[in-house]
Amino acid sequence: MTDFISLEALAARVPDGAMVAVPADYGGVAMAATGPLIAGGGRGLHLVCVPTGGLQVDLLVGAGRVRILETSAVTLGEAGGAPAFIRAVQDGALTLRDATCPAILTGLLAAQKGVPFIPMRGLIGSDLLRVRPDWRVIENPFEPGDAIVAIPAIRPDLALFHAAEADRDGNVWIGRRRELALMAYAAKASLVTVERIRETSLLSDEVTAAGVLPAIYVEAVAHAPGGAKPYGLWGEYPADAEEIARYAAAARTEDGFRAWLDRFAGAPSPAFA
């Protein structure tokens, strides 16, 4: 059954080398877990951005915690490019697996369905296909001569995200952010931070049940009010665009990056990588 633990204990469940799926900016990022993850979580992570990454990814990359980065984009949105990501790319410090959003979603769907691959349209003629030898062009078995790309299953060790509510059984309300469910289905287990823990079951009425990720997928929950900030959480609070812009400016230098992170994490961060 689901464990209810601290952010630090949650972060400690991310082992070295783990493949971890994280959501896009708008989708419930477990920002509050980022400091503990850098302080006490695994190194050499394989991050899978579902389907793009932002501030959390940039922090983990800048802190040297990421070995492989699978993503369709890393961006700070209106604040511009992600500085630590760009530096790491240009330093060759990352193994990049550039993708396109639906390919990441397709790979996770294959894991959800327990199949080795699912085909998708598009991609043919692109350099994405060239730099992703793990994707294969196959012939549609139902139409000779019709080429289609087979995307192999992505089976993360962990999904890590933030949501509005959990109940005491470990059910989590994700609403219409169903890519969080996709991540959880595909992953071996999910670590979730939440705004609130409620005492009554989210499954006790059909209206809330419609937005629930069931506890069977949820290994642990940590209570973290405001846990997506400075990102927003749908229906709860908006993103703090000024703070994200401040990060974008600060992180242009290593020192500025570290100063912002220390302040954000509320403590000096440990050695980077």
């Binding site: 949105g77 992600a82 769907l109 692109s126 350099d127």
Partner: protein
């Protein structure tokens, strides 16, 4: 009423390109394409319903199945038009959202390919929109193909480039010849200006003419209803354009 600004002309140009669509999707941080779509909807009111999905917007987002629904809808043929940009766009319509120079250590490195690897292939009218019109952006050959402009036989391809809109000109795209066709030049510029600032070769439409300015009724719609609607999602953009109008 003051004459149309350059951006208002772009909005009207985009609305023209969207004539007849039922459902147009707009990526995040794309105020001019969003305004073009809203103008199309306003122009068609009472005759045809136009749906607009703005990614990342809570208000203009009727999707309920997470990130996948846009891509699923597009693959089902339920999205008629979409906008893509590109750090580089080449003469065959290939777009590069990844970076210049040798991959993987691209410099500059841009965010990444987002959904282009599918959407460019399955949305019938993809409008390439990039305000900067320079040989740095409009190149002979992109350094990295995020999504290909055209495909040969044996590739399922229901979508692709429909037009390229910049601050200087409007191009159509000839899918068979895999070449852009200059269809309009914004006032104050000529074909030679376009050639000088375009890194790829292109054809010229026989009926090439200056891109028209929006008529008074259209301009009034833009400055009234469209900017009001746009301000819900892009307040700072609207403040800025209204200041110049």
């Amino acid at each position: 009423m003051s004459p149309a600004t350059d951006r208002e002309r772009l909005i009207a140009t985009i609305a023209n390109l969207l004539d007849g669509v039922r459902h147009v999707a707009v990526g995040a941080s794309s105020p001019i394409p969003a305004a073009g779509a809203m103008l199309r909807r306003a122009l068609d009111e009472g005759r045809r319903d136009v749906r607009i999905s703005i990614l990342g917007s809570e208000k203009h987002n009727f999707f309920t199945n997470g990130s996948a629904e846009l891509f699923d809808c597009a693959a089902q043929g339920r999205i008629d038009a979409f906008f893509l940009g590109g750090g580089q766009i080449d003469g065959e319509g290939n777009i590069n959202l990844v970076g210049a120079g040798d991959y993987p250590r691209s410099s500059p490195r841009w965010p990444g390919s987002f959904g282009s690897g599918l959407l460019y292939y399955v949305v019938p009218r993809v409008i390439l929109f990039r305000e900067e019109h320079s040989p740095r952006v409009l190149v002979e050959k992109v350094d990295f193909v995020s999504a290909a402009g055209a495909s040969g036989p044996g590739v399922h391809r229901t979508g692709g480039p429909h037009a390229l809109v910049t601050s200087l000109a409007l191009f159509g795209f000839d899918k068979k010849r895999r070449r852009f066709v200059l269809a309009g030049v914004h006032p104050g510029y000529g074909v030679d200006d376009v050639r000088a600032r375009t890194g790829f070769s292109f054809d010229c439409a026989p009926d090439l003419k200056p891109t028209p300015a929006p008529d008074a009724g259209t301009l009034s719609l833009i400055r009234g209803r469209v900017f009001d609607e746009l301000a819900e999602t892009y307040p700072r953009f609207v403040d800025a354009v209204r200041g110049t109008a």
